[in-house]
Every structure is written in structure tokens, then in C-alpha cells.
Amino acid sequence: MKVSAPRDLCLRVENVGMRFGGLWALSEVSFVVERGTILGLIGPNGSGKTTLMNVVSGVYKPTAGQVIYDGRRISDVATHDVCHLGIARTFQVVKPFASLTVRENVAVGAMYGRLGAKRSAKDAFARTDELLDFIGLARVADRPASDLTIPDRKRLEVAKALALDPELLLLDEVMAGLNHSEVDEALHLLRTVNERGVTLIVVEHLMKAIMSISKHVIVLAEGKKIAEGSPLEVTSSPAVIEAYLGSRFAKRQQEERER
């Protein structure tokens, strides 16, 4: 089914619900992502961020609602075909192919991604070498992926996703576990990727990181969207403060503000 969408719209999530047994991990989540922007997605533990990423990347088929990307319903598309439409994602728990080298890991993406069908194995490796240079993994290109440090594993996860030549990239907590300077490097990298024309959805725990990179933020709590707006708007929203810090703290802050 073709659904008409304005040209600058990249992704439309409509009333998405996801049920596991008796639990609604997501309910009535709606938002849109404009092409070329960076959307931040935050929320406390267990709020449904990763579930939402799984729905958007076609790993889960939503129980209710629909996800429309580029005028097509993602829920009608097989998981392995979603990346051919131009959506790539990273996993929060990184999933490298441990016995392959870093270079081979990334090359698999270049072979089977959006432009993979047109590439020979040799072309895929050439594209891989460009990417490894760009992302800073060239120095460990021929090491097995299982040997990498945590920051390098995160880089590899991003490199694999970029090898798919995505138009929309979903980043699931790629900055978790990194120290200050590594986070700064990661932010710089993501900005560069975005400047090259890739739309980003960045799921993150680190408020600070999200605030510095995206102008538009969505907050999830208990599977529902509780706030949306600029970083400043959402952080001052009582619902968000309550979700993160509890109702007593939110009330106290409200009273202080009124005083």
C-alpha cells in the first residue's frame, strides 16, 4: 500500500502499540521524523526505547498502528528487506561477527545492504576501507572483531550500519559505556554522518549527549510518549521530571517554581 507523504517527511509512526503477552511495551506512540534531522529518543529504563527501535527497523511487527517510511508500510516488509529500503540500525548489545575481522564485519554490510546487490565482493571491500578510515577503525581492520575494546566495538557497530548506505540510521545507545572524550568523539562522528545527509534517530541514556546533538526530542515512559519538543522544553516538563525522578520530586520542583 502506497501512502502519500510530504516530500520532506522521512518516517511516520502512527499509533504504534506492541504487546508481549499481557504487557503493552508500547502503546499509541506517534511521531514523525523529517528528512535530514536528528531525533533524540530518551526515557528511563524499560520505557520501550529499544522496542520502538525494533519496530521501526522491522525486527518486530507492531501489534497496533503502523510505521510508514518513505511512503511504505514497514510492517509489510521482511526484516532483511527493511535495510534495502534505506533503514539501518545498531544494536544496544553489540552483535559483531566474532570470528571475522573488523574489515570483513563491515564488508558483510556493504555486500548485502541497500546498494549491496550491485557490488562485487571486491567493491564491497573497497567501500569498507573508505568507511573504516572515516570511522577510525582502519588501524584494527585486520584484527578479529572479538579482540576489540568497548569503544571500538561501538564504532564497529556504527560502521556496519553505515555500510548499508542508509538514509535513516537508528542508533541504540551507541554512547553507553564511553568516557567523556569518547562521547565527544562519537557526537562529532554522528554530526558528520548527519551532515552527509543521513537522518538519525538517537536513543540514549545520557541526557547531556542527546541535548547537544538534537533539536527535537521525544520522551518515552512506560511505553507511552509523555513529551515532545526541544531539549529545553522536555527537560522542564513536569511529566518528564516525574518519570525520571519520581512524583515527589516533581511536585517539590513545581512548588519551588511557583514560589
Binding site: 527497523s57 525486527v59 521482511a78 526484516t79 532483511h80 528487506d81 527493511v82 535495510c83 534495502h84 539501518a88 540500525r89 544494536f91 552483535k95 559483531p96 561477527f97 566474532a98 570470528s99 571475522l100 570483513e104 564488508a107 558483510v108 554490510g109 555486500m111 548485502y112 545492504g113 541497500r114 549491496g116 562485487s120 565482493a121 564491497a124 572479538s146 556496519k160 555500510a163 548499508l164
Partner: protein, 303 residues
């Protein structure tokens, strides 16, 4: 492999047949390696392809066609079709269920052939009398089949196809998100492996001059290739050959000297491999960092 070209010139039938059997097991090991070694889907029923190959030759012989090229060609086509038809439902299964299903396929095929009069039932089918003067012909046919399996594996491992197989083995979810359809590529690997086993079966049946279900679907044809590939190195292009030569060679000697306990040997080999060499001998060849690295990796495998 090249040295083995000169075996028939020794004019010793015992040695020729023994080495032909080793080559046969090598080809079957390559077949198992494709699905078990590269995609990581452990099959317990790959002998079904060997058996199917045997019966391709037998049926052609029944209709008066006794030509090794025709035998192998038919086995390739039949096995590829069979593998795709059976693989499409079975390879949708993930993990261990596949192994159990393959065992079921083997038992079902064996029982079916046992009861099909067209294929001679349990009494088997006789092929054309083996031509003793051209005994070497079967040897070279088996040599060629093994070479094709070996080179095929070598080139597939370096192609896009090979990377899809390994990606599925290493992490099926991650492979899927990178655009690889797990079912499609598992079926391709299973079919390529099936064709390899089938070619070996087709040549064997002609060389043997007779097949019945207990020969075609023998438990050894199922177990040996697995152990050989494990020993040599799963997911490598040389592992199955090395494993087959070592294990079949040692087995032959044990069978001569200690007929009663030689089957015990395979059990012991499996235990030793799984504990000390989970990646097989080829892993040791490529090992950098000596014994320390080896033990470090062993710890990783235990998880």
C-alpha cells in the same frame, strides 16, 4: 591431493579402494561443512544426500545408462531439488530443532526406500557389473568429485555467498538486519552441501556395483563426515580433507588390528576434539601466540 593422482599406478586394488573411500568421505565432509561449518547449522542427516546420489546411479543403471557423467549430473539435479524442497520448511527452524529435523529426514528416507519396490526395497539394486579393467576410472571420478568440492568450498568461502553463511553462523539476528535473508542462504548452503554428498554417492554406487538402504544411508556416512570436519576444522576449505585423511586412515589401520574396539576410537576422538580443539586442526595452523593463546581461546569457548 596431486600426489593421490598416482595411486592407481601402484596397481594395488586394496590401496586404491581404501584411498577412494577416504576421498569419498572427504567429499561428504565438504558437504557437511557447507551447512554445519559455514552456516553453523549442525545437520545429523546429511547421509540422505549420499544415499540419494547412490540411488540416482542405481536407477540410471536400471534403465541401461551406465555413464559416470550422467550419474553425477543426475545426482546434482536431484539433490539440489530435494535440498530446496526439504530445506525451505526445515531451515525456517532456528538452532537445534534443525538438527533433530534432519535426523528425521534421514530415517524417513531410509524407511521409504526400504519399502519402495521400484528401488529394490530392502533387497537393494544391482548396478552394472564393475569393470575390473577400468577400476581406475572410478578412482579418478571420486578424485575429481573431491577436488570440485574442495575448490568449490575455497571459492565460495571467499565470495559474497560465503560471507552470508558465516554471518548467519556468527549471529543470525545481526545478519538479518544487514540484509541477509537467513532462510534463503541457509537453504543455498544446505543445497550446495547436498550436491557435494550426492556426487560422492553417485560415483560410489557405480564403483560398488550394488546399493541397498543399509549401504546408502549407513550411520557411518552420517557420523564420519561430522567428526572429520570437526577434527580438520569447521568452516575451512582444507579442514574436511585433512580430517578425512587422518580419521579414515587411522580407522582403516585400527580396523585391521583391533577389529573389536575400533568403533570406540571415534567416540574418544569426538570427546578430545570438543574439549581441546573446538575449532579443529586448521585453527592450530593459523594460531598466533602459541599455547597461551590456545588456552585463552579455550576459556572463551566454555562461556
Amino acid at each position: 591431493m596431486v600426489a593421490l593422482l598416482f595411486v592407481p599406478s601402484l596397481h594395488n586394488d586394496y590401496i586404491t579402494v581404501t584411498i577412494r573411500n577416504i576421498l569419498m568421505f572427504a567429499a561428504m565432509s565438504y558437504g557437511w561443512n557447507m551447512i554445519g561449518g559455514y552456516t553453523g547449522y549442525v545437520s545429523f542427516g546429511n547421509a540422505v544426500f549420499f544415499g540419494l546420489g547412490c540411488y540416482c546411479s542405481a536407477v540410471l543403471s536400471k534403465y541401461g545408462i551406465d555413464n559416470l557423467v550422467a550419474d553425477v549430473a543426475l545426482a546434482v539435479v536431484v539433490n539440489a531439488i530435494f535440498a530446496v524442497l526439504v530445506g525451505l520448511p526445515v531451515l525456517r527452524l532456528r538452532g537445534h530443532y534443525f538438527g533433530i529435523a534432519t535426523l528425521g529426514i534421514l530415517l524417513a528416507a531410509s524407511d521409504l526406500v526400504n519399502n519402495l519396490d521400484f528401488l529394490g526395497g530392502s533387497g537393494g539394486l544391482a548396478l552394472k557389473q564393475v569393470d575390473q579393467a577400468h577400476f581406475w576410472l572410478y578412482y579418478y571420478a571420486m578424485w575429481l568429485v573431491t577436488l570440485v568440492c574442495m575448490l568449490g568450498t575455497f571459492f565460495i568461502a571467499r565470495s559474497k555467498l560465503g560471507y552470508a553463511f558465516v554471518a548467519i553462523r556468527e549471529n543470525e539476528d545481526a545478519a538479518e538486519v544487514l540484509g541477509i535473508s537467513p532462510t534463503r542462504y541457509k537453504v543455498i548452503a544446505w543445497a550446495i552441501g547436498g550436491v557435494m554428498g550426492g556426487m560422492a554417492g553417485a560415483v560410489f554406487a557405480s564403483a560398488n556395483g550394488f546399493v541397498d538402504p543399509s549401504i546408502a544411508f549407513a550411520i557411518d556416512n552420517n557420523l564420519f563426515p561430522i567428526v572429520m570436519t570437526l577434527l580438520g576444522g569447521m568452516g575451512t576449505a582444507s579442514g574436511p580433507f585433512i580430517g578425512a585423511v587422518l580419521l579414515a586412515g587411522v580407522n582403516e589401520i585400527l580396523q585391521q588390528k583391533f577389529i573389536k574396539i575400533h568403533t570406540l576410537f571415534f567416540g574418544a576422538v569426538i570427546v578430545v576434539i570438543v574439549v581441546f580443539l573446538p575449532r579443529g586442526l586448521m585453527y592450530l595452523v593459523g594460531l598466533r601466540g602459541g599455547v597461551r593463546r590456545w588456552f585463552a581461546d579455550l576459556r572463551v569457548f566454555k562461556v
